[in-house]
Symmetry: none
Amino acid sequence: MNERGGQKSSTEVDPSDPQERSDCADTSAACKRGRPRSEAVKENVLRAANELLDERGFKAMTIESIAERAGASKVTLYRWWPNKAAIVMEAFLAAYGAKTPWVHTDSVIDDLRAHMIVFVKVLGGRPGVLLAGLAAEGVLDAEVGDAFRTLWIVPRRAEATKSLKKGVASGELRADLDVEAVIDALYGPMYYRLLVKHAPLTRAYALSLWDVVMRGIAATPEARERAGHGAERTPK
Amino acid sequence: MNERGGQKSSTEVDPSDPQERSDCADTSAACKRGRPRSEAVKENVLRAANELLDERGFKAMTIESIAERAGASKVTLYRWWPNKAAIVMEAFLAAYGAKTPWVHTDSVIDDLRAHMIVFVKVLGGRPGVLLAGLAAEGVLDAEVGDAFRTLWIVPRRAEATKSLKKGVASGELRADLDVEAVIDALYGPMYYRLLVKHAPLTRAYALSLWDVVMRGIAATPEARERAGHGAERTPK
Amino acid sequence: MNERGGQKSSTEVDPSDPQERSDCADTSAACKRGRPRSEAVKENVLRAANELLDERGFKAMTIESIAERAGASKVTLYRWWPNKAAIVMEAFLAAYGAKTPWVHTDSVIDDLRAHMIVFVKVLGGRPGVLLAGLAAEGVLDAEVGDAFRTLWIVPRRAEATKSLKKGVASGELRADLDVEAVIDALYGPMYYRLLVKHAPLTRAYALSLWDVVMRGIAATPEARERAGHGAERTPK
Amino acid sequence: MNERGGQKSSTEVDPSDPQERSDCADTSAACKRGRPRSEAVKENVLRAANELLDERGFKAMTIESIAERAGASKVTLYRWWPNKAAIVMEAFLAAYGAKTPWVHTDSVIDDLRAHMIVFVKVLGGRPGVLLAGLAAEGVLDAEVGDAFRTLWIVPRRAEATKSLKKGVASGELRADLDVEAVIDALYGPMYYRLLVKHAPLTRAYALSLWDVVMRGIAATPEARERAGHGAERTPK
DNA sequence: CCTTAATCGAGACGGTACGTCGGGTCTTCGA
DNA sequence: TCGAAGACCCGACGTACCGTCTCGATTAAGG
């Protein structure tokens, strides 16, 4: 996300360093007339947002407070982000965007299981809190909802689709799967607990879900049988 | 916020207490002091809230506008409801609290199927819009979340639990079910689409979910087989 | 506003009539059936008003707080007093209505001196605080102003007029006096300090005023001379 | 209340500081950060306040209505003035701050007479109405009272003190004057009528007061005599 | 005794204004 | 150019009192 990271970190080491302007001495072409955009601002904003998110939560955190904490002006925030959800989204993706990978072995059923375990762990931690705020805000504000789907939901579903189709192709899964519905059957209950908070997001929960769904979509009795014992195979 | 609000809303929205006005008959004389609460106000407020919900949506609707539309004062609203979500909740329950019934035949699998069909239809309509707002607000505001779970989520899950346990007892469903997880597997994906809005809530979707889950939890191959054809049995 | 307010206050001006209950014995038609007014309520209200006046001051004291403190309902207060100033007025008159008497010796100049001394002492104490609140409220609210003038200002000025006219008649004071202006010259500066609070209301202040005015209005050089030493004659 | 308000109003209403905008010329660079205060807003607010004062009077005029009339936001008002009295005070001083000048001829007694005539005319007109509201509010609210004394009462009394001391020095007035009390004897009765409204503020009234007081403070019989005829010398 | 009428408490109610918060926008200066 | 400071309008917040309006309960005089 930040292509100037190297030059950045030298600044960041000492945040109290006042002569940020010596940039132009070493880099030359990039340094045009006028004050260059400060990357430090972005970092300060994201850092401030993260802090406030933890201190006050999504709703109580305001653009105003972020700006103050970051030592930035509100105008600057509005220049780079359309609303507070966008800031949180960026902070979230920067920190956790790569935390829910798919592994691709020769058993799709196992891959799904591994993913579920990772995913429930992510949702159960701090990223889950941010995600819940973003999802909720996305319900109340269409623009935020679009961003949330585009940047978070869709990419992950695409991976899942790929995996499930591979499983169908390999005969591991039933041929008549409603792929979309199956993805929803896997992810849906996780978000349900994340948002409604009627019960905790545990590893056991993820495995129970995986168990039920695998029994329902595995093509062969053997695969079904394997799934049926999944919850017990790996103690929490 | 308003200490009476919580107690109030939980009392007033409870659909199982039809004779709310007869408080004073059984309780002591002290309860009849002062001017009694005007029922007309309550009705006006709920009607106004419903109108504004449709006109502007959950987020854009304000306490102020409800009061104005209802011809009531803000203080009166704050006297009876702790926040706007509580008003919406009460309006919602009054209108749709009994719209997702459970039928209890001798086949639990069929009962679940019937419920899923009814439920997806409710979520796909106006009640779904209100529910989404309430759920989202519940994520952002703990007090609202409590009310949402207590008044909406829990009662429905209790019914589902009863049904599933009956199925287990009758041998129709597998004996080693994780009942809570199965309920989540059924409801979760519905709320997931309701809130994330990545795809529509159709009858076919409900049946696909039911199909997957039933295959995973039915005890006998025959039952599993029945489920496997469920989606096709009833054209949309 | 409240047509009974006027009638009320005229009654209340005379605090020395405790047996209001015996109305029906002498009067006839006016005394109807029904529950008689509770004197206890009146006492509670006046006591509560006095307490709150001391605790919070005139502005911060509200009808609501008086009612609560008195254990009375707001309606009861509004039934008997048109506004909070009327309550304070009644409480004030009951406590201090007779605290600024005129003595009538054979020297009007001495009488004025004695009155000034008494008056400045009253204004400088708790009654002064109440009086200031009443006067200020009377400026901002015409109805209160009327009551203040009628019940407090006018009676005292009438006494003063009587005294001054006597002085003129006896030849002690100049014959061409503008009596009204002289009364204003005596009372005015006292209220000025009471309201503007730029300096304290001391006995010395009262004597200084008396000194200046007496020199200006005494008929004979001897009288003038007597006044000229008045401030010193009685050490503070 | 608003810590800037106090400092502000005392700065801005000082009529002896015409070049308020050139602050930054002499002070440091730090003062010019941010958008400068809009003078137009100030003007609009004061104009609106004046209009509403005439239309509704001091008590019925609200901050809200001023803001609306001025096309300003309430926050902006609260930023610059601590309360409505401060706004009225500023509006008042802007319009009438210089309307009660002191002339200094070689006769202090004549100067006082001239001032009394001017002053009673001011009090009897629109400025008197505003002054009454400010004074009354100052009684009920200590902060307002402070401002009223500091910005209005004290400066005028300082002039009067100067004049009286000159008269004493020149031998025109008695040497043993209690200067403060004499000032109170002159101003007090005017404010008394202004606030209590028991009689009108006429030129004749001012002259009567002047007459009485001058007789009391003039040093020589001749001066006393002059004063004694003052009321007749200048027909109203 | 038993109306009948007034008073009292409690407290709901519509209203107006309060003083504050945050959202976006804009204006100026300095880098 | 960009960015910080901060003024500005706007809309809503939740609260405080106002003055009015039911209620049930209480209290006497008069029938």
